[in-house]
Symmetry: C3
Subunit: 208 residues, 3 copies
């Protein structure tokens, strides 16, 4: 980490990848250009907006930064014209999405801690930051949010990264290296789960 510039670039990169996943969902659902831009913006910014509303940091960052609005717009433009090519890159998109997941659960937890919330609640808000946009994307597409049923390890890696962030903070360990370590842990668990097909359990007795 070499200062706020790197953190800012990583943040925008995570937002870009989340926006691509929203724009691709719009293609699958045969939405028009308005639907694509809305899904891209909400997928990318929705988790952070929910977190900011809940911790009382208004206007949310998404409404004070031009980059936060323009990056999803550019992701929409890319997918609008070249979605067949982007779809072919899906394995890479999944990898970058895992990186965004790791980054946002760590930074979301930190922001909640900075606003005075308890470690437990900050972990919750870190997870909300990481998965909230995807939940809103699925609800707007008329689908049950995939994180609630598809048994992939998606929310759990975010919870791991958030918990490590909160534990380090409680142990008075601060700084970019700690955040990066927590984000990497979440990223690694997500990638391993993708690679080996790890699944979350269903309630006892519910058949596959």
């Amino acid at each position: 980490m070499t200062g706020p510039g790197v953190a800012w670039l990583l943040d925008l990169a995570g937002i870009f990848v989340f926006a691509v996943s929203g724009a691709l969902a719009a293609v699958r659902q045969r939405l028009d250009v308005v639907g694509m831009v809305v899904l891209a913006e909400i997928t990318a910014l929705g988790g952070g907006i929910l977190r900011d509303l809940l911790i009382g940091s208004v206007p949310p960052t998404a409404f004070t930064s031009l980059g936060y609005v323009l990056v999803p717009l550019s992701a929409s433009g890319l997918v609008f014209f070249w979605h067949p090519q982007v779809t072919r890159l899906l394995p890479a998109v999944l990898l970058f999405d895992a990186a965004g997941l790791g980054l946002f659960c760590a930074t979301g937890t930190l922001k909640a801690l900075d606003h005075g919330l308890s470690p437990l609640h900050s972990v919750l808000l870190g997870v909300v930051t990481a998965v909230g946009g995807g939940i809103l994307r699925d609800m707007l597409s008329g689908q049950i949010p995939s994180v609630l049923y598809d048994r992939q390890l998606y929310a759990l890696p975010a919870m791991l990264g958030a918990a490590v962030t909160a534990a380090a903070w409680a142990a008075d360990l601060h700084g970019g290296t700690v955040t990066a370590g927590a984000a990497l842990l979440a990223f690694a668990l997500r990638v391993l789960a993708l690679r080996y097909g790890w699944r979350t359990p269903r309630p006892r007795g519910v058949p596959d």
Copy 2:
């Protein structure tokens, strides 16, 4: 009423029962453990969170109290392992749910009045407190919120309890006895409606 201890226990009991209804919905929709915990937390806390966001009381109570997060988690654990048994207890769950409905419409109205909102708006927010979590539960499960179409008396008892709370407050009657009375009225109307199958009307001319 013997003080805030009783009110606090009742509050957590209401949250527990709402969480059970959310976790059971997750079983019906064949969600995984993540979906179950999310539905349990949102069903139990969603109404109060919406109310707190709307009256500007942030962070919402759910994000300042450990019990509010842990109680739905324990309800999820119960339903995860013993949902067949819990489903068999459904009549009792409906009864406790009616008690939660009564409690939350009264306490939600009071909190809005305390924040300076008008009696009419406080009644609205009391109803939001009582039924908002269930609406979010149904939206996340990919269903039309049952309170909007199933013709059961569910929102109307909440409105009665909220209106009585606001009327007592406007008449300068305060204290736990008044709140308990309003909650009991809403509870009684809900239970009578369940017992006798009372229905809300559909728009004129819409067939059954």
Copy 3:
């Protein structure tokens, strides 16, 4: 424009028409009276509530004004008893809805600018004000929000009106005439699009 009285009446008229569209959606979805009132209120007030939460103006105007709550209630009463007649007036409803769209994108943008948001973000919030209620209406009715896929020019006229409002504000042009002009532009584009069947594009290569 002859003062705040006219603006206030126009505002309530726009809310009335949006509420009628929500109540008619409830008839189509065969909801009961509770569902009708909820859809009428949310369709009429949802966009403004979202905007107010996002700019930190709480409680939202809808929770400080009696008229904002009572007007959708009266629209529900009208549709509850006379929905066949109201449905026959649909061309007129569409025209008034276009007027509400124009009005709310302009006033929503202005309110965000007044709260110190950047012109770009204020345009976004103007569009949220105009189309947010309809999106919530569709989500509560179990449908994909029509503005995301139906290729009608609905969000784009709102964006035009919002952009003209923000541009005028940036050029230090203020006052009711400017707002009215921006609202009229959005209204005119919406009506022309309805008249001539103009459509928004789908992503390249997605068939009709």
